[in-house]
Symmetry: C2
Subunit: 240 residues, 2 copies
Amino acid sequence: MPNPTAAMLVIGDEILSGRTRDTNTHFLAGELTRHGIALAEARVVPDDHAVIVAAVNALRASHDTVFTSGGIGPTHDDITADAIAAAFGVRISKRADAMALLDAHYQRSGMEFNDARQRMARIPDGAALIDNPISIAPGFTLGNVHVMAGVPTIFQAMVASVLPTLTGGAPLLSQTLRVDRGEGEVAGPFGVLAAEFPDLSMGSYPFTQNGAFGTNLVIRGTDPSRLHAAMTRLASLFPA
Amino acid sequence: MPNPTAAMLVIGDEILSGRTRDTNTHFLAGELTRHGIALAEARVVPDDHAVIVAAVNALRASHDTVFTSGGIGPTHDDITADAIAAAFGVRISKRADAMALLDAHYQRSGMEFNDARQRMARIPDGAALIDNPISIAPGFTLGNVHVMAGVPTIFQAMVASVLPTLTGGAPLLSQTLRVDRGEGEVAGPFGVLAAEFPDLSMGSYPFTQNGAFGTNLVIRGTDPSRLHAAMTRLASLFPA
């Protein structure tokens, strides 16, 4: 059985304007790979209700799991929760469980639980909360969509609490052979090898170091014995 | 007239597996913003012919300009040029102009212009070449799609040669006010201000520094006088 697939949806004008560099996709990619889930697509969209709704519906229909990051804070530009509710056609309101969590948090810290902060308790009907150990305001899971914060430390904590609940496949393993030759020189035999192992994925990534060309040859797959067999053949093609 | 829009399509298994961090989208975002083109969407897709074709066709239909990065090297997993040709329904072959460029380059450097390297001369019919001052193998422009290398230095050089050919709008300006208060405290008045200036885009980005909460309030727009007016009002709402 092929590994389950996931998609990542990054929401936020600040990524598309170049103000902020998205680091959540790269973090999620590594975590999913270790968990045996293939990240099959990532998208970045602006803070635009209709665009978010369309992207969520496209991605949740074509992948087993969808992760979103961004747009669940207290300000007017945080519109993700409402867009997710619209995508699923469900109601959204300040929910008692989320209100209780936030109320207790702001009482403890002596800050006012004002209207803006209460917006973070708006959760679509039928969603399960995702724990936020850092700043309490929860994410949520609705259907196969996990809605998480954009702040990297909070995003990472939420991934850590969601990932164990997902069924993964065999972890995607990868091995790399570094050769001191240009990509164009290794491409022929490497392509022949790739054709011999259609169950593995092979990629080549050129680099330059101290003015010399080199290539990292990467083989990926879920079966350790097949990976070993291919790496052995690869090493014999390009002896050190 | 609203600014023209662009989309970015990052192609490569290595990004989705978490092996490589995509830096091209962030670079492009900043360049486009300065050039007055709005980056409206970014996607990352795997080295999969059908997926690339579908993404290219979706993005070129909905945006003024599309940029792609990755998959134009000499190895078997470099399938971008063929996918672009398929997306446009045109033929692809080793083109004389690209062959001449590469042949001269490999003669100069004393390297064999072998079959794998000749793959990099495969250019769809009707495309215009994009100069690659670093490793010569060209990118190309077909319709509104600019196909560029994934290696960041080459990607950046190709963006530098393509960008002056594109009609931009007024540059998107942005100003930031840093306030020493949490996002939930500034959200109310900030949202009211945003509603007063519907022609500007306002976003808030929380941070913690030395254990204290703060928020960067960012206002973006193309009209300097409107931006100045909004920033003046913002500074009066949150005096230092």
